[in-house]
């Protein structure tokens, strides 16, 4: 893995290995908050920030605490705790510093604390044995990829709500999952550009 640089990893995390559309992680908030562009923009931005920051934090904890002590089997629980504490801390800081930022981004932090895509990014970083910069690139890229996917989804759903008549049985999550599947197929077109696996 040493071969791939920061940007290569960043772009492959956004497109070829989009964490949402190829791994289907972070589905619940993806389906729940993709009705409106404004909400999904806030959520996407929050995910980018938290994913980049927590994967780096978890890399530090993993490399300098867990590996030297032969405790890498504890990574699941430790990563979750770090993510939860981090999001809570950031929420408090944002709420104090800026009300506008809190309204557009901070509100989503509690939702993200339990988002599996965030934990997934940290775990992929371990499985793929990334270096520090690779981790940062991957975390940022995975966040941007997730944000891109939810924005695209929100755009589609907003139009769908205005213009088309969805069969009653498919309304809500049903049609959203079909759209997500189609988007995943479209993203397969990026395959072969760069591969992470």
């Amino acid at each position: 893995m040493e071969s791939l640089g920061f940007f290569a990893i960043f772009f492959s995390a956004v497109f070829t290995n989009n964490i949402l559309l190829t791994n289907y992680l972070g589905m619940c908030s993806f389906l729940g908050c993709s009705r409106e562009l404004k909400t999904s923009f806030g959520l996407g931005a929050a995910v980018i920030f938290v994913m980049a920051a927590t994967s780096v934090l978890n890399w530090l904890v993993y490399t300098y605490v867990l590996v030297p002590l032969n405790l890498d089997y504890l990574r699941f629980i430790v990563f979750i705790v770090v993510i939860a504490a981090f999001t809570q801390l950031v929420e408090m800081i944002i709420e104090r510093v800026s009300e506008a930022l809190y309204l557009s981004l901070g509100l989503f932090l509690p939702l993200i604390a339990v988002n599996c895509a965030i934990l997934g990014a940290s775990l992929f970083m371990v499985i793929r044995q990334y270096t520090f910069w690779q981790t940062f690139g991957y975390g940022l890229g995975a966040g941007v990829g997730w944000g891109l996917a939810i924005l695209a989804m929100a755009g589609i759903r907003q139009r769908l709500a205005q213009r088309s008549r969805v069969p009653a049985g498919l309304e809500g999550p049903g049609i959203a999952l079909i759209i997500a599947g189609t988007m995943a197929l479209a993203f397969m077109g990026f395959n072969g550009m760069v591969s992470l696996n």
Binding site: T39, V61, V65, L71, V78, M92
Partner: protein, 366 residues
């Protein structure tokens, strides 16, 4: 063995470090000092900042009705915040009509006290108190409705208007980790000041109803707060049509008892809908009221009598019975209490019979 100890040690260390960090943040970043909340322009309260307005007011003994315990899922704790609340939160939007948004109505459980606030609440909420009570009676009215009598300990007397409701605090138990509050109408007369009676119908897995039906015993302590609500007898002499179902009996009974006390001469017809014979209760009390009240009739009806229910009275849905008995409702007014479905159906039928919308009063369970 050492590996295990190291693992435990590391987990503990990481948790302790993070906890300390969060505690530190809470004490510094999330510390908003003390703030002044001005209520209705006169009453000034000094509260610790950083908590929700609902919790801060409760600490100051001002009880805003709320059923969900502050999670923003019931939309009841509406107050007007004139200044200091910041912009509307997405969590409040579903509960506020455009009119309410324009008049600065907010949900007290979502507004955080971060600076001085100016709020306005109905004057009568200032008379809401918290009461410590003890269960002095538990009677099965039907197979699924219990009458709970609460004797007031501290304060010893309550003043309320017949038709109003109180909130019952359910302490943490198997079904809930934190205290939750549920509203119940008082069914006893407002002249009875040293105790209140409630009629509580069992709802499978309902947090409060399960607690009352399966855990509560005579002698237990119960905390209630109240009274709340606008449902009450109007001050006119119009003919009255009361319609209730199930535990919707409670506020109507309270109103009737008050009418009995002053021998109110208004014409009153009380339609009570039940499914089968076993869902009817307090028939004797109602027959007695027919004797003592100058012009009162109780008309129970069964929608689905069971075999063996020797039933001579009315049959069918309560709306059908009302429709059979009432021809012209244009000079009458109605008091409804029951499920939202029942109320909506009754409002529709009464409007068809010519009743004016402003003469229909109701208390919807939800």
């Amino acid at each position: 063995m050492t590996a295990l100890l190291i693992a435990i040690g590391v987990i503990c260390a990481i948790n302790v470090v993070l906890t300390l960090l969060l505690l530190l943040a809470e004490a510094t970043i999330a510390n908003y000092g003390s703030c002044t909340v001005t209520v209705n322009g006169e009453k000034r309260l000094t509260v610790e900042g950083g908590r929700s307005l609902l919790a801060s007011l409760k600490q100051e003994q001002i009880f805003i009705p709320s059923a969900c315990g502050g999670r923003g899922s019931c939309g009841l704790c509406k107050v007007v915040v004139l200044d200091g609340a910041g912009p509307l939160l997405p969590t409040e939007l579903p509960w506020l009509s455009p009119e309410e948004q324009r008049t600065q109505v907010r949900l007290a459980c979502q507004v955080k006290v971060k600076r001085d606030l100016q709020i306005r609440i109905p004057e009568e909420l200032l008379s809401v108190r918290q009461y410590r009570t003890v269960v002095s009676g538990l009677v099965d009215l039907t197979h699924d409705i219990k009458q709970v009598t609460l004797k007031l300990i501290e304060p010893q007397e309550i003043t309320f208007t017949a038709g109003q409701y109180i909130q019952f605090e359910v302490p943490p138990y198997a079904l809930t980790d934190e205290p939750v509050y549920r509203a119940y109408s008082v069914s006893s007369s407002s002249a009875q000041k040293d105790s209140v009676e409630l009629e509580i119908r069992y709802v499978p897995n309902g947090i409060c109803t399960t607690y009352v039906h399966q855990h509560l015993k005579v002698g237990d302590t119960v905390v209630i707060n109240g009274p709340y609500g606008e449902f009450r007898l109007s001050d006119t002499d119009r003919e009255m049509i009361c319609i209730a179902g199930g535990s919707g009996m409670a506020p109507i009974k309270s109103i009737l008892l008050d009418m009995e006390r002053v021998r109110n001469p208004r014409k009153c017809r009380y339609f009570f809908g039940a499914r089968a014979r076993r869902d009817l209760f307090l028939l004797d009390e109602m027959r007695k009221l027919e004797q003592t009240l100058p012009d009162f009739r109780f008309i129970p009806s069964l929608s689905r009598p069971e075999e063996g229910d020797a039933w001579e009275g009315e049959r069918g849905l309560v709306t059908e019975v009302v429709s059979r008995h009432v021809d012209d409702a244009s000079h009458a007014e109605a008091y409804l209490c029951g499920s939202p479905l029942m109320i909506d159906a009754c409002v529709k039928i009464l409007r068809e019979k010519g009743m004016l919308e402003e003469h229909i009063f109701y208390d919807k369970f939800s």
